[in-house]
Symmetry: C2
Subunit: 444 residues, 2 copies
């Protein structure tokens, strides 16, 4: 595909190129442009029809956007900006260096500039920061016919026309009416008779993850956002909610693996940036491994006397770590999806204790057989290892399920409490259990 | 809230109850019902208006659905079934025991029964299994006015009317036109003039994860599904796509933590079922820890001579495991989101090697300082541990990034290759590296 495009550029077959591009989705065009050699971008971009151009521009990665903006004439820049939805413009501005931002703001009119500034002022990750202010608003005394007239007049520039918002003269949200309801109603129906009152809405400061969850829970196409005076200021549309859901899942997964989350896709992130995402946890966990080291060194005597005990350290630590992270990951994901709350803590502990006993006993029996049949250790040693195994599994599950809940309660991020940190705690704990049982049974 | 409802039931204030329920979203009503004592459910369910009742029914968990169905009169059952969208009906049927399924099928008419059977026959996790067959289809020679007439006549029972599908007489998909385009067009426009040709579509056998990714990529509200003869047979709507995205993320997270994925929420899953999800990997990983055990036992002589070496086993194994899973988790997530493909393997290895060298050197220096300053070990031992540290980090990252790619290539699930399995490989590897360096440098 790319080679074909480059070939067409070189042979100047622009009308053929235009034709190919007109058949493609904006997302695919953007993906193609991002892979093309830089020098072809401005030319190709100018081959796009105006509306498509704006849609493609939004989907480009920020390096390409910056490159294009720098090459734009003032007129071209103004044209693109006029076509962009405000929330997309703000997303782009947030990624640009200061001089580009200045140039962009210089080419927007006063009203748009103040709206952009407003949006830029909402806290990162809030509903305000991801909402769009281009929605269809109706009045409650309009007829269905009036509503359609309004939609036809203003709809082209709105991000969605499928959910319309009914407000009073102070812009307070009174109700919601969908395009489906409008289409299926009689033309002379009054909006207030068909609108749904008590609509679900969120505040501008609401966390964007919460917004996305609400949208997905209620199967809405858009969710209204109000300010502190309950005035309707914007809406979050379902396509933005999907992006949030995917980003948050990625972030959770990264945190669980001890990676500082980043917003850039992996292949676009430089080696140094990836290094910076990963080294903090590696260093921290390396240092915290001193605990395990301290435990082992405290029991050096025991190990010296019976070095066979060393053999089972990795197995015990590994099983403990795995058991713990199974429990923690389950709880963290449940918290993220709002399926679990802090008040469920006793139900969860009860459940995990049950699971822990079943897992612990099964693993202990399996280990016992393995030790006797394959490893030919003495029955005493086998008993020590199996008792340590069962206890480790039990306590690991307990730590794994409670720690994320505690973290959430005191306002920390539960995902950070996951695998790496819990593994460290569980590692030290499993050794303490192991050596204490060994010392007691073998009476060193 | 629940106590208030129960109080209202006991005092028989049904009209007040009806009023409260009429203000609530179906999702919230279902959440409320799922928490109520069973005996109140049928009564409360009968207080709902017919359309809301069907929406609530869909959101209930399957135990409650089963309970309600068993209590329904034949007439009631028929009423609910008539209101359900077919894809929802199929989802419900899939969760019911055989006798309930039989009763459901007995109360659907022949046409619906055959449609349900069709949907039930699509492979699990395919586009066919999650699509809805209730969409608006138009003909290309219709005018915009004809289209609106058709939407008004049939729209009430369609899951979405916002994307309409233009088909020819053989039901081949010709194009797509959105309700927005229809609303903004002149009434006498011909559909074929305003429809978008070359629409993006998927086959019924396409994986549902792929379907959801396409939908989110192109910001569509629905994606058409065609059969092997290219006939339009259904659509997947954005709300179902969101559910798929969330479920797939949960599944990936579970697999990364060595848990067999389940579709039930944690709090609804029994202890025995959770045990069954978790024990296979725990057993497998316990057995595979025999490798580490074998490595240690091979080097028992070295350890006996210099037991201080034992102290650093957990730190090396832990850092190796963490480094490896950082790399693997990043690659797995990238694969899931379609950001990474197998053809990127050399780019990725190159990147990971860079990151690994930076991380390895940083960690080695930090360890070196820590060993000399806090642990007071000899310089020779410190060098051995640090060299082992740097090499372990390097090879862990390499294994971590290549294994998921290889798995994907040969058709295995990359997520299963993540943390637990890689950790085991890395554990054994880090010990081999450590002891070999120790033997070489300290020349036992």
């Amino acid at each position: 595909m790319i080679n074909e495009i480059i070939e067409l550029i070189h042979t100047k077959q622009y009308s053929h190129l235009k034709e190919i591009l007109s058949e493609m989705e904006p997302f695919d065009i953007a993906a193609l442009y991002d892979e093309l050699p830089e020098q072809h971008m401005p030319l190709l971009y100018r081959l796009l029809p105006k509306e498509t151009a704006a849609e493609v521009f939004v989907e480009l990665d920020s390096d390409s956007q910056e490159m294009l903006i720098k090459g734009f004439s003032d007129n071209e820049l103004k044209e693109v900006l006029d076509e962009l939805y405000l929330d997309d413009a703000v997303d782009i501005i947030e990624e640009m260096p200061a001089n580009v931002v200045k140039r962009i703001l210089r080419h927007t009119d006063i009203e748009m500039r103040s709206q952009i500034n407003n949006l830029l002022n909402y806290p990162k990750d809030s509903a305000g920061s991801i909402m769009t202010i281009e929605f269809v608003d109706l009045k409650e005394d309009m007829t269905v016919q009036d509503a359609f007239t309004r939609i036809r007049r203003t709809g082209l520039d709105k991000e969605t026309i499928y959910t319309c918002y009914v407000t009073d003269k102070n812009r307070i949200l009174l109700g919601i009416v969908t395009a489906k309801e409008l289409l299926l109603a009689e033309e002379d129906c009054i909006i207030s008779d068909i609108m749904e009152t008590n609509p679900i809405y969120v505040n501008t400061s609401c966390d964007k993850e919460e917004v996305a969850l609400q949208l997905s829970k209620y199967d809405f196409l858009a969710l209204p956002v109000v300010d502190n005076e309950n005035r309707l200021v914007g809406i979050v549309t379902v396509d933005d909610a999907i992006d949030v859901i995917q980003d948050e899942a990625t972030e959770d997964i990264e945190k669980m693996a001890g990676i500082m989350p980043s917003e850039k896709p992996y292949l676009k992130t430089s080696i140094v940036d990836i290094f910076k995402q990963r080294i903090p946890w590696l260093l921290l966990l390396m240092v915290s491994a001193s605990f395990t080291q301290a435990v082992i060194s405290h029991f050096t005597d025991a190990l010296d006397k019976l070095s066979v005990l060393t053999l089972f350290i990795p197995m015990l630590m590994g099983t403990g770590g795995n058991s713990g992270s199974q429990a923690s990951v389950t709880v963290i994901r449940g918290l993220s999806l709002d399926e679990i709350e802090f008040k469920d803590i006793f139900k969860i502990i009860w459940k995990e204790c049950g699971v822990a006993i079943l897992c612990g006993v099964t693993l202990a029996i399996a280990t016992f057989l393995k030790l006797l049949i394959f490893d030919h250790v003495s029955i005493t040693i086998a008993i020590v290892v199996c008792a340590a195994m069962a206890s480790t599994v039990f306590f690991s599950k307990l730590v794994g399920c409670t720690l994320p809940l505690m973290a959430k309660k005191i306002g920390f991020d539960p995902a950070v409490m996951a695998s790496p940190l819990i593994t460290t705690i569980v590692d030290a704990m499993s050794l303490v259990i192991y050596f204490n049982i060994a010392t007691a049974v073998l009476s060193f």
